[in-house]
C-alpha cells in the first residue's frame, strides 16, 4: 500500500525462547484495510498477530502505527484491541460488564459506559443480553460479546485471532459476512488470523500467506488464487493435484515432450515460465476436462493432457469427483458426468489453471510424468 501505510512492520523477527518463529517480516497495511494472515498451524501467524498486539516482543525489527514506533509499547498503548480465539470472556462478569470493562479502565463515568455498552449491544445484536453471564450465551453470542468488548474502546486497529474457529460451520458462514460488513461500516483497520482459505478469501482485502515464519506471498485474494508464486501457495490455495513433468522453456513458451502418461504440449504462459528441467505441475480439481480415452478427440486447447485410469468416483454435490490414477499417484478431477472406475481417461488441464514450479532438486524425479506418491491428502479430500 506504499505511502498510505498505516500499520508497518520492518524486518520483524520474533519467537519464544530460542525458537525463532518469525523471520524478517515486512508488511505494510493501509488505514481501513482488512488483511488476513493465512497459514497452516505453526506457520507463525498467531505469533505475528501477538507481536503486533504487543504480547510478544520482537527480537529485531520495527512496528509502526502512523508515525509512532510502537515496537516496545505495552499492549494497551498501541490503540489496538484483540479478539481472542477462545473469546477470553470473563466468566464472573455480565455481558455488559465484559463490554464495558475497557471503558471502566479508561475512567469513564457509569452513565457514559452504560450508553456505550447499549450502543455496542445494538450494533452487534446483543440487545437484552446485558445482564447474562458468558456461560448463558451461545457460541455465536459469545463471539459477538468478545467483538463488542474490543470495539467498545474504539480502537484504531482490530486484531482477530481465529475468531470464527469455535463456531458451528453454518454460523461461521454468516458471521464472516457480518464481521466484514461491520468492518467496512466502521472503517476500522483489521488484521485477521485464520487457517481457513475460504474465510480469508471472502473477508479480506489482501491476504498474507505465511510459511515457516516468512511471508510466502502477499496480495489480493484474486491475485493469490490465480497467480500463486510458489508451489506452497498454490497448494494452499487449493491446487493440490500434482504431477511431475520435464519441460523445456524458451521465453514465454514451455514445451513438454510426449511420455507414457502425457501427450506432447506446447504452452504459452502469461506468467514467468520455470527454467527447463523437472517441474511440479499443480492444478485444482475444477475447470478440467475429463474424457474417456475412446471418445477423446485431439482438441487444439492450450493446456496439458494427462493419461490415467479412473479409480473411484463419488458425488459430493454439484459435479462428480473422480480420483484418477496417473502413474504413481492420484489426482482429483471434477466432471459433470460420472465415468465408471477402470476407464482409461484423458485429463485436460487448461493453461489458465496450470501452475508450473521448478521441482525441488532433492526429490527424485521419476518417468515423465511421475507424480508424488503422497496420495493420502487426495484420498482425504475425496471423502470430505
Amino acid at each position: 500500500m506504499g505511502d498510505d501505510s498505516y500499520l508497518g512492520l520492518q524486518g520483524v523477527d520474533a519467537g519464544y525462547g530460542r525458537t525463532r518463529v518469525l523471520q524478517g517480516i515486512d508488511l505494510s497495511i493501509g488505514k481501513g484495510e482488512f488483511v488476513a494472515l493465512l497459514g497452516s498451524s505453526g506457520c507463525g501467524k498467531t505469533t505475528l498477530l501477538r507481536a503486533i498486539a504487543g504480547f510478544a516482543l520482537p527480537e529485531r525489527g520495527v512496528i509502526r502505527v502512523g508515525d509512532r514506533d510502537v515496537t516496545r509499547l505495552p499492549p494497551d498503548r498501541r490503540g489496538m484491541a484483540m479478539v481472542f480465539q477462545s473469546y477470553a470472556l470473563w466468566p464472573h462478569m455480565s455481558v455488559a460488564g465484559n463490554i464495558g470493562y475497557g471503558l471502566r479502565l479508561k475512567g469513564w463515568k457509569r452513565p457514559a459506559i452504560a450508553a456505550r455498552v447499549a450502543e455496542i449491544g445494538a450494533l452487534l445484536g446483543l440487545d437484552g443480553l446485558g445482564g447474562r453471564r458468558p456461560a448463558e450465551l451461545s457460541g455465536g453470542q459469545r463471539q459477538r460479546v468478545a467483538l463488542g468488548r474490543a470495539l467498545a474502546i474504539d480502537p484504531d486497529i482490530l486484531l482477530l485471532d481465529e475468531p470464527l474457529s469455535n463456531l458451528d460451520a453454518r454460523i461461521r458462514l454468516s458471521v464472516r459476512h457480518e464481521i466484514r460488513a461491520l468492518q467496512k461500516r466502521l472503517g476500522i483497520t483489521t488484521i485477521h488470523v485464520t487457517h481457513d482459505r475460504e474465510e480469508a478469501m471472502v473477508m479480506a482485502d489482501r491476504i498474507v500467506i505465511l510459511d515457516q515464519g516468512r511471508i510466502a506471498q502477499l496480495g489480493t485474494p484474486e491475485a493469490i488464487y490465480t497467480r500463486p508464486e510458489s508451489a506452497f501457495v498454490a497448494a494452499f490455495m487449493g491446487a493440490e493435484n500434482v504431477v511431475r513433468l520435464d519441460v523445456v522453456s524458451s521465453g514465454g513458451r514451455v514445451d513438454i515432450a510426449a511420455g507414457p502418461l502425457n501427450r506432447a504440449a506446447s504452452l504459452r504462459l502469461d506468467r514467468p515460465a520455470p527454467p527447463s528441467g523437472p517441474v511440479e505441475a499443480r492444478f485444482r480439481s475444477e475447470q478440467l476436462q475429463l474424457r474417456s480415452l475412446d471418445d477423446a478427440t485431439t482438441a487444439d486447447v492450450q493446456g496439458i493432457e494427462l493419461l490415467g485410469t479412473i479409480e473411484v468416483v463419488v458425488y459430493p454435490g454439484g459435479e462428480w469427483r473422480h480420483s484418477v490414477r496417473i502413474g504413481g499417484a492420484s489426482v482429483l478431477v471434477d466432471a459433470p458426468e460420472a465415468i465408471a472406475p477402470g476407464t482409461s481417461v484423458l485429463v485436460r488441464v487448461p493453461v489458465s489453471g496450470l501452475f508450473l514450479f521448478s521441482a525441488p532438486t532433492a526429490s527424485p524425479v521419476g518417468g515423465s510424468p511421475a507424480s508424488t506418491d503422497d496420495t493420502a491428502p487426495v484420498r482425504e479430500k475425496l471423502s470430505a
Binding site: 499492549p75 494497551d76 498503548r77 489496538m80 484483540m82 481472542f84 477470553a88 470473563w90
Partner: protein, 272 residues
C-alpha cells in the same frame, strides 16, 4: 452370590469407619451432654463460664490467620501467574513451598526462639537501630500464634491457589492487559474472582487445621487467654474432666462447621 459380593466388599471399610470414627465421635458428643451419669447442659455452662474468653480468642486468632493466609496466598499466586521477571518467579516458586514440610511443633519451636524478648527478631531490630533495647517486648502471645499459623499454612493455600491460577485461560488475562488493566487490577478483578472456589476450599481446610493445632499454642502462649485445644488438653490431663473437654470439642466443631457452612453457601450461590 453376585448380589452379596458388593456389600461384602464394602463391609471392611464400613466397619472401620463405624468402629474407629463414628463410634468415638458419638461417644464424645454424648459425653458432652452427660453430667454425673445424667443428661444435662452442665458441661457447656461450665465451659462457657471458664473458657468464653478462650473460645472468642481462638475464633479471632484462627479467623485473622486465615485472612492473612488468604491475602498472602493470593499475593504469591498472583506473582507466580502475573510476574514478569522470570528469575524472581522461579525463585519464589522454589522457595514458597518449604514451610509445608515442617511440622507445627518445629514451627512453634523456631518462632519461640525467634520472637522471644531477646530473640533473633528483636536483636536484629536493635542492631539495625530500629528498636530501643529498653522497649523490646516478647511477641509470644496471640501475635506469635498468628505468625506461626500464617507461616505454616500460607504455602498450602498458595499451592492450591497458584495451581488454579495457572490453569486459567491465559487469554482472559491478556484480554484485560490489552484493554489497559494494571497487574494489580488484573489480579483483583480478573484472576481472583475466577479462583474464589479454590481459595475458599484452601482457607476452610486451613481453618480446620489451625483449629486443631495443640503444639503451637502450648509452645508459644500457654497462659490465658489461650486456644481451645490447650484448654481441652488441660481438662483431660489435669482433671480427667472428659465432660468439659467433650463440650469444648463440640464447640470447636461448631466453629469449623459454621465456616464449612459459609463455604457451601458461597459454592451454591456460584453454581446457580
Amino acid at each position: 452370590m453376585q448380589r452379596l459380593l458388593g456389600p461384602l466388599l464394602v463391609t471392611p471399610a464400613l466397619l472401620v469407619i463405624l468402629v474407629l470414627f463414628a463410634l468415638p465421635l458419638a461417644a464424645s458428643v454424648i459425653g458432652a451432654f452427660e453430667v454425673d451419669g445424667a443428661a444435662g447442659l452442665g458441661n457447656f455452662t461450665k465451659a462457657y463460664r471458664l473458657y468464653t474468653q478462650d473460645i472468642v480468642f481462638t475464633a479471632l486468632i484462627v479467623g485473622l490467620s486465615a485472612l492473612l493466609v488468604g491475602l498472602l496466598s493470593v499475593a504469591i499466586g498472583g506473582y507466580l501467574t502475573l510476574g514478569e521477571n522470570p528469575r524472581a518467579v522461579a525463585l519464589l516458586r522454589w522457595l514458597y513451598r518449604w514451610p509445608m514440610f515442617i511440622p507445627f511443633i518445629v514451627v512453634g519451636q523456631v518462632l519461640r526462639t525467634f520472637l522471644a524478648k531477646s530473640g533473633l527478631f528483636n536483636t536484629t531490630l536493635i542492631s539495625l537501630g530500629l528498636l530501643d533495647p529498653m522497649s523490646a517486648t516478647s511477641y509470644l502471645d496471640w501475635r506469635g500464634i498468628v505468625a506461626a499459623f500464617v507461616w505454616k499454612q500460607t504455602p498450602f493455600v498458595a499451592l492450591m491457589v497458584s495451581g488454579a491460577m495457572a490453569s486459567l485461560d491465559r487469554s482472559t488475562i491478556e484480554a484485560a492487559r490489552n484493554l489497559g488493566a494494571s497487574r494489580l487490577r488484573i489480579l483483583v478483578e480478573i484472576v481472583v474472582p475466577q479462583v474464589t472456589t479454590t481459595l475458599l476450599v484452601g482457607l476452610v481446610l486451613s481453618f480446620v487445621t489451625m483449629m486443631s493445632v495443640l503444639s503451637v499454642p502450648l509452645m508459644i502462649n500457654a497462659q490465658t487467654p489461650t486456644m481451645i485445644t490447650a484448654d481441652i488438653a488441660f481438662r483431660l490431663n489435669t482433671y480427667r474432666d472428659y465432660g468439659v473437654a467433650n463440650a469444648l470439642g463440640l464447640i470447636s466443631l461448631a466453629i469449623t462447621g459454621s465456616v464449612a457452612w459459609f463455604y457451601l453457601r458461597v459454592n451454591m450461590r456460584q453454581a446457580q
